[in-house]
């Protein structure tokens, strides 16, 4: 409104700049607007950098441990425990110490990051796809489709995820199950996480689609003879992008914590494969003497989850200018 006032007053200071900048703003796409806001958020930028760094470290794990001169994550070395079998603490050769099998904790922490990121990103991806699909169908078609899908969502939501995890984890952890469709380890945990989290996305998407389908642009599209599929894919889906991105980015850290929790309980990723959760679990019985064994994976977990949470907050603020902050 102040722009209008400046236009009306001839020769008002900055009047011309206002006009110019308005013309410029009008030319910006939503993506550019988002990027401009995101760039000004220092915390979000730092967390994005941290996440990129973590991803690079995870991808280049073999190279990274070579640079630091560490042994592989599964190299056991009985010489690194004292005469009572207690592992040795941090030293220059093993900055994070070793565990009770003489495996290097730093190298296991780096490889554990691979698991955490894989589970977090792939699990969230699958859950998001299922959630969007179910939510869109339920919201768009309403009626019995909606009733059926909504009840399904309720049932899945009321299953305690941890117990489901223990059940499926125990059943599938050794040989896999459903005729090999679910592989033990990473497969089980990704399956579990996508199974347990898609209803949340579906609920949010359903609500959004319910209100979007009544909007004029959908009506216009239908008036032009567009098919249901086209309306859903070309009209409704793009409008869902921002909330879905924000929700998924906040779901990744939750899922990383879930992976750690399930591995901690012994039904997720099992040793010898390193995961932050199972390292903390293994370290728990002797955590008062070999503190490094649980502290470092925990800190890695904390940094990763924190970075994703901060990035998610930043994305939400940048994508939703009206968010209360």
């Amino acid at each position: 409104m102040s722009v209008g006032a400046a236009e009306l007053v001839p020769g008002a200071p900055g009047g011309l700049e206002f006009l110019e900048s308005r013309a410029e703003v009008a030319a910006r796409s939503p993506l550019q607007l988002f990027w401009r806001r995101f760039r000004q958020d220092r915390v979000a930028k730092v967390s994005l950098a941290v996440i990129l760094l973590l991803i690079v470290i995870a991808l280049a794990a073999p190279l990274v441990i070579k640079i630091f001169g560490l042994p592989g994550p599964n190299v056991e070395n009985p010489n690194l425990t004292d005469q009572f079998g207690s592992p040795l603490g941090p030293s220059s050769a093993h900055p994070f110490g070793v565990d009770s099998l003489g495996q290097d904790v730093m190298s296991r922490t780096i490889y554990g990051g691979r698991v955490a990121l894989e589970v977090g990103i792939i699990g969230t991806g699958i859950a998001t796809v299922i959630g969007v699909l179910v939510g869109t169908l339920a919201g768009f078609y309403r009626g019995w489709v909606d009733t059926l899908l909504s009840r399904l969502i309720d049932v899945v939501l009321s299953i305690p995820i941890l117990l489901l995890g223990l059940g499926i984890g125990a059943a599938c952890a050794v040989r896999g199950c459903i005729k090999g469709a679910i592989q033990p380890g990473l497969g089980v945990i990704i399956f579990l996480i996508s199974l347990a989290t898609w209803p949340y996305t579906a609920r949010i998407v359903r609500g959004l689609v319910l209100s979007l389908r009544e909007r004029e642009f959908v009506e216009a599209s239908r008036g032009l003879g567009a098919s249901d599929a086209r309306i859903m894919l070309r009209e409704i889906l793009p409008n869902l992008a921002a909330p879905i991105i924000v929700y998924a980015s906040l779901q990744i850290p939750t899922n990383i914590l879930l992976e750690a929790g399930l591995s901690f309980l012994g039904v997720g990723i099992r040793p010898p494969t390193a995961s932050w959760g199972n390292m903390i679990a293994q370290a728990t019985p002797i955590f008062n003497t070999a503190w490094w064994w649980m502290v470092f994976p925990g800190i890695a977990l904390l940094i990763t989850v924190l970075a994703f949470n901060l990035l998610g907050d930043g994305l939400r603020d940048a994508l939703n200018p009206r968010s209360a902050r």
């Binding site: 309720d154 305690p160 117990l163 059940g167 309980l265 012994g266 924190l306 949470n309």
Partner: protein, 307 residues
């Protein structure tokens, strides 16, 4: 409203049965290990296994077993029998209930009080150093898993192994009835650790909710007619607490799970959820032993309360 509540409760019962059936299927049909074989000891003869299977009622069809189970639950409040610890599930649950309740209720009180006050202060002093510090801490706490936070808290503050020995460590728990003072001090650390994530979540929610409320028109009206600021704030707080209060029952159930118990033998109590419990010398046994136990509490609650 009454009709609505009745409908929700009935729906809760239906859900309960569905969830019971699902877990039943998981634990009976999936090859987690035959309880009869587990029980028979080393190198059992097929006859012995058959006999044990018969005595446990496992030779009936799954459907038959499920029907018997459900009947037991509803008619006699018999929650079944733990093959692992060879006790009735009901006694396993009630044995641990006092400790679980002490832990959960104390932590819930702490997280509501602390969470709401931090949230209110942050919202009223928006963008101040206090706000930034408390929101930063909140995010940090949300990002740390409790099973790790508990261990770190013990390493730092417990009297037996901590760097700054100020609080009783693990294995000091006593029942409320035997020594209230000791009961309280032994639970301080578990309460704080257990409540930490809750406090963080509540502080964030309360802050967001209050900031939104304080920009409403009626708050401006209240200020314009000259109400003292503390009464304006009171109005705002009252309006913004409602949506948060509805979350509480859900959160209590969510928090009340064995993984989060920050005692020394953390993973042992936690694993207890599958393997029921293992007695260990220093910690206390504190977990809902059989999935059914947690299911009974958690399954109807979300469906009744969430909407």
């Amino acid at each position: 409203m009454t009709r609505y509540i009745i409908r929700r409760l009935l729906w809760g019962v239906v859900l309960l049965i569905v969830v019971c059936a699902l877990t039943f299927v998981f634990f009976r049909v999936f090859p987690t290990g035959d309880p009869a074989v587990l029980r028979a000891g080393r190198d059992p003869s097929p006859g012995l296994i058959r006999e044990i299977r018969h005595s446990l009622g496992l030779d009936h069809s799954t459907l038959d077993q499920f029907w018997k189970y459900i009947k037991g639950v509803f008619l006699h409040f018999d929650l079944g029998y733990s093959y692992y610890s060879r006790q009735s599930v009901r006694s396993l649950i009630f044995e641990r209930l006092p400790a679980t309740l002490s832990l959960t209720i104390g932590a819930a009180v702490l997280w509501v009080l602390a969470g709401l006050s931090v949230g209110i202060i942050s919202a009223l002093r928006r963008h101040s150093p206090i706000d930034r510090a408390s929101m930063g801490t909140a995010l940090l706490l949300i990002s740390a898993p409790e099973f790790w936070l508990g261990l770190v808290a013990l390493l730092l503050f417990s009297q037996d192994i901590g760097k700054f020995p100020i609080l009783p460590g693990s294995g000091t728990y006593v029942g409320l009835t035997s020594d209230p003072g000791k009961w309280f001090t032994s639970l301080v650390m578990p309460w704080i650790v257990l409540a930490s994530t809750g406090v963080a979540i509540y502080a964030r929610l309360m802050r967001g909710s209050l900031i939104e409320t304080m920009s409403e028109d009626y708050i401006r009206t209240a200020r314009a007619k000259g109400l003292p600021e503390h009464r304006v704030v009171r109005q705002g707080v009252r309006a913004s607490i409602t949506p948060i209060a509805t979350l509480l029952p859900l959160e209590i159930v969510r928090r009340d799970n064995p993984r989060r118990f920050p005692d020394r033998p953390g993973h042992r109590t936690a694993r207890g959820a599958i393997h029921h419990h293992r007695q260990h010398p220093r910690g206390h046994r504190l977990c809902v032993p059989r999935p059914t136990g947690a299911l009974l509490v958690s399954a109807p609650a979300p469906s009744c309360v969430a909407r």
